[in-house]
Assembly symmetry: C2
Homo-oligomer: 629 residues x 2
């Protein structure tokens, strides 16, 4: 296949960066069992253990140090939520063995509008997953190396770029690649919980840790605490906000149901097992870290260079010990993997939406290497923008997170309810009850999250969802209008009566002669057109045309405004007035330089002309290329 050899420097760079194209025929996923399915689909969900407990504590401390005791109750509530959502999604797995993302389930069963709301919610949450995961991963690294604290933003953007690049090359979703960091993380966290538990057993009594909050947070905490003492409502509001903060643990839980076809036969059963394992592990690790925190002698909060997990590891294993670094590295690794999951999901979802006509069609096209380039680039762009804007700070990013996920959860469960009512298969009433319960619960949680986090950032997500929804609708309307305009009818477009070719001749040289021959070959009524920008050069052009122009007449156009394009447009208008049923073909000779930097030396007249043609009909622009070097 010689024509696929890189020719231009750009193509060469592209090949080096992105690798050789992969034929569509090779598109397949290796089929996964539960043991490999777990790492592939659960990095997003499990990695939230790294920040969810900390997020809960960061809100509870606003009430008082004693309120930290509520953390266990909130953790348990969240674990109940995890179990309910997992059972709900388990039903989706069996109903949609070909993959049931929220967008598909919602639009299938509830219609266009809920489908698009789910889509908007999911797209925003994928961007946030990347930003939050990478920021948390960087926080884990910074906890090991505090002097890196000044490089939060460049490190985060570097990781996003790395993951985006890997995805542009087309990472095979190989179970092995995912298995190592995921199981390493699980092993690390379980060890931490067990060893920490043994150490806590030896401790005298259950005691809340002394909290060391950063000085600049103390004032704020004081104010909130004063408010809490003044009103019961404020206290409950903060408790619900703490719960909402913990709900970030549920993000990514729907991944298995999206990916059912990737499992070995029987797909649904294997997927179901994986989902169960994931929910169990998530519950264990979340409760476990929640219990351990109570035994920390000192707890530093809001300190970007000390995550809560790193403090636990420091306390259980000793600061700077090998297990301590192991926890930091494996946490960072699974968080980067979690970001990677979004890089697979976001472009797949945008391509589905684009195929349905709600996003620009180019997003639906797979690239050379079986990946959706445009979607990957968009996601990288948006998540970098978020990280940059929020200076890579996790606690600034977290409040926006989970709003979208729970919206999508609710719509998806509601869709399932409608699905069961429609299908009415055996036991449908139980299934309606389960998904209905799930939908109700997630709806309530959605409202709690939206309300309690509203001022902290959820408002932005709400606005973005409305904007995205409007854009979807506008794009669809536009595509509908285009289709209507381009619809085939029994009356074909009017056939033009003839063609007049105009050959642009800035000066007479070999390249022009090549174009002249082409013009003579294809057109009958052919005229050469010279725009007189330089009076001095005119006699020479006319003289040379007499010698080399053959029988093609030369038309010299005056340019009172020194414009190259306008006189040509005026001449076209004149021709079309004289012969309204003719097409005018403007032949633009274009020099093709061998090296890219030679291009700046040439004017792209063809491009300028096409741009300037505006709404003129029956004008065709033809580029005859001649070569330099």
């Amino acid at each position: 296949m010689p024509s696929r050899q890189p020719v231009t420097p750009l193509q060469r760079i592209r090949l080096a960066l992105l690798g050789r194209p992969i034929p569509t025929a090779l598109a397949h996923h290796e089929k996964l069992g539960p043991l490999l399915g777990l790492p592939v689909f659960s990095s997003d969900a499990l990695s939230s253990v790294a920040y969810a407990t900390e997020a809960v504590l960061g809100v509870l401390i606003l009430i008082s140090e004693h309120a930290l005791g509520l953390q266990m109750a909130i953790s348990i509530a969240i674990c109940v939520l995890i179990v309910v959502v997992a059972i709900s999604y388990n039903q989706t797995i069996h109903a949609y063995p070909s993959g049931g993302g929220s967008y598909i389930v919602a639009s299938d069963n509830l219609g266009e509008t809920p489908g698009l709301i789910a889509a908007a919610a999911l797209l925003i949450d994928y961007v946030l997953t990347v930003s939050v995961s990478v920021a948390a991963g960087v926080a884990a690294i910074v906890s090991a190396y505090p002097h890196l604290h000044d490089f939060l933003v460049p490190m985060s953007i570097g990781f996003i770029a790395l993951v985006a690049w890997a995805n542009l090359r087309g990472v095979r979703e190989s179970g092995a690649v995912f298995a190592v960091p995921t199981y390493a993380f699980i092993f690390g966290m379980i060890s931490l919980i067990v060893i920490g538990g043994v150490k806590a057993w030896g401790a005298h009594a259950v005691a809340l840790p002394h909290v060391v909050a950063l000085q600049d947070k103390v004032d704020m905490i004081g104010k909130e605490a004063a408010l809490v003492h003044a009103s019961n409502f404020a206290m409950w509001f903060l408790i619900l906000r703490a719960f909402a903060a913990g709900c970030t643990a549920l993000t990514g839980i729907e991944a298995v149901s999206n990916g059912v076809p990737a499992f070995k036969s029987p797909e649904s059963t294997n997927a179901s097992k994986t989902l169960g394992m994931m929910a169990a592990l998530l519950t264990i690790m979340f409760i476990g870290t929640g219990l351990l925190v109570r035994y920390l002698p000192d707890l530093a909060l809001f300190d970007a260079s000390k995550t809560v997990v790193s403090q636990l590891a420091s306390w259980a294993f000793g600061h700077g010990s090998i297990p301590f670094f192991y926890i930091q590295y494996s946490t960072a690794a699974i968080l980067i993997l979690a970001a990677n999951t979004s890089f697979a999901d976001f472009p797949r979802l945008t391509s589905l939406i684009a195929r349905d006509g709600y996003l620009p069609r180019p997003l639906a096209r797979q690239g050379d290497r079986l990946v959706f380039h445009n979607g990957i680039l968009l996601l990288a762009l948006f998540s970098c923008a978020l990280v940059w804007y929020f200076k890579g700070q996790l606690d600034a990013l977290l409040p926006m997170y989970a709003v979208g996920v729970f919206t999508a959860f609710t719509l998806s469960q509601l869709g399932m309810v409608v699905h069961w009512v429609r299908v009415k298969e055996s036991g449908w009433k139980t299934k309606v009850a389960i998904n209905g319960f799930g939908a109700t619960l997630t709806l309530i949680v959605s409202v709690i999250i939206l309300v309690t986090k509203f001022t902290e950032g959820a408002w932005l997500v709400a606005i973005l969802m409305v904007i995205l929804f409007t854009v979807f609708k506008a794009i669809k309307a536009r595509y509908r209008a285009i289709s209507a305009q381009l619809a085939l009818s029994d009356t074909p477009p009017v056939m033009p009566a003839g063609n007049i070719s105009l050959l642009l001749v800035p000066r007479v040289h070999r390249g022009i002669l090549i174009a002249l021959e082409y013009a003579q070959l294809t057109g009958l009524d052919c005229r050469a057109v010279h725009v007189g920008l330089n009076k001095k050069a005119l006699p020479e052009v006319m003289h040379q045309w007499e010698t080399f122009g053959g029988d093609v007449p030369l038309v010299v156009l005056k340019s009172p405004y020194r414009s190259l394009i306008q006189p040509v447009l005026d001449y076209i208008d004149k021709l079309q007035e004289e012969k309204p049923d003719h097409v005018v073909t403007v032949i633009v000779p274009e020099a093709i330089a061998h090296r890219w930097y030679h291009k700046v030396l040439q004017e792209n007249v063809g491009h300028q002309l096409k741009h300037a043609l505006g709404q003129r009909k029956n004008v065709v622009v033809t580029n005859v290329r001649y070569f330099l070097d």
Copy 2:
């Protein structure tokens, strides 16, 4: 002229911003007498009074407070230089009545290399003139409103954008527009000198002011002072550096000789008078401010919110008085005008250089409104970059200034020496002596400036000059090579034996049918080509083509890599192998959207294809446009 009505939103914006095109026939300058010629050509030179004295003092203080006494000696030396250079340029005015810029004089008389060195020096200095003038103008405003100090960079960039915009519209170099601020500035400065002089007369004795330097400069000054005490050489070096700093007063002095044709008849005489007036005023104001400074009780240096001129005005008129603000405003105004001068000169010079083939040809094209758009944009871009990089700080920009000007002075005077030797008109020996003396003096000053300011920024100018020179040469070589390749010869290019037209058909719709009719109209061997990206859609495309495709056969190309372009390229390669003497015309139907934001919804396949064609010969790309909305 209906076709010049704006059609697209971009054209409408353009019209609103830049105004209607001006016909070449209206290109004329109003002819100027000395009284209007002075403001038009002297804003650059005269405005340097606003910063030159301060620049000298800023170096002398590095020696010691007593060394400030040397300021008068240096001012006098610079005034002598001004007179010598003015007399030298007076000869150029008479020898080049059609305008004798350094580039023209140097390349005419000394050859290509000196001409290009002068050109490089001038271009860099025009950029610096804009940056320095605007930064100094902003400093004048900030001296009146110190709380604006935080907005140095945005204010400077705003002014540059404003001046660039005015020049893109095509400011007529109207004497009246220039006269008001220039004479206002002259009046203000002379009043300041007179009233300040009277006040100083009443003062007890000539005393050097007490210097209040900013704390962060004190250490540096201490170190330099220690060095000075240790060596005589260091002291002389600093004195020469102070002299070099003052030489910025000479920038712009050559403007009159560039613009001789703008004067009323007798042009040379009027230009000569103007030059004389300018030199006299410059000398008076420079010496005057230099004298006054000695009577300031306290002198703040290196304080970006207090220029020396503003301190003089504050002392002479009272801080916050109306005359104080008058001085600040008129200083700012003449400095902005000085920047404006560069916006007229830089594009004119780049167009001259581009016409000679040393810069890309598009720089030589005048725009609709008789201005050189590209040159104006380039200058705005570069000067904004400088201001942004040096944070709008005048004392960081000044050391780079004047290096280029004196190089150009020297080459121009040397060129004049050669000119007189060649022409040998009456009294040529005296003329050689004058220009020779001027050349020698400016050469010495050039060396002093380059050496003493080298580490402070002159090195950058030197490097940029070398780079620019190399670029000039490379571009010229490239154009020469292109000319050689495109030279007409007696053997015309081989006429192709025939043409095969390929019509790209992504799906069958009304737009495609328009293109089909065009293809049938112009080509004999015409084939429709469909790239099979979506297997499901293929039968429909084939069916519809049977109905609507007439007798044009449909070729379906497989796309194993999901690429739209590659299969077309492969097919073209196949065709060209079969019929090497044929041209292949690829007809790309292109949807033209009415609104710009609709464009993102369409793929520009024609553009992608043209880019991908690479070095394939005998392939022509034809765009048949169809319209939406």
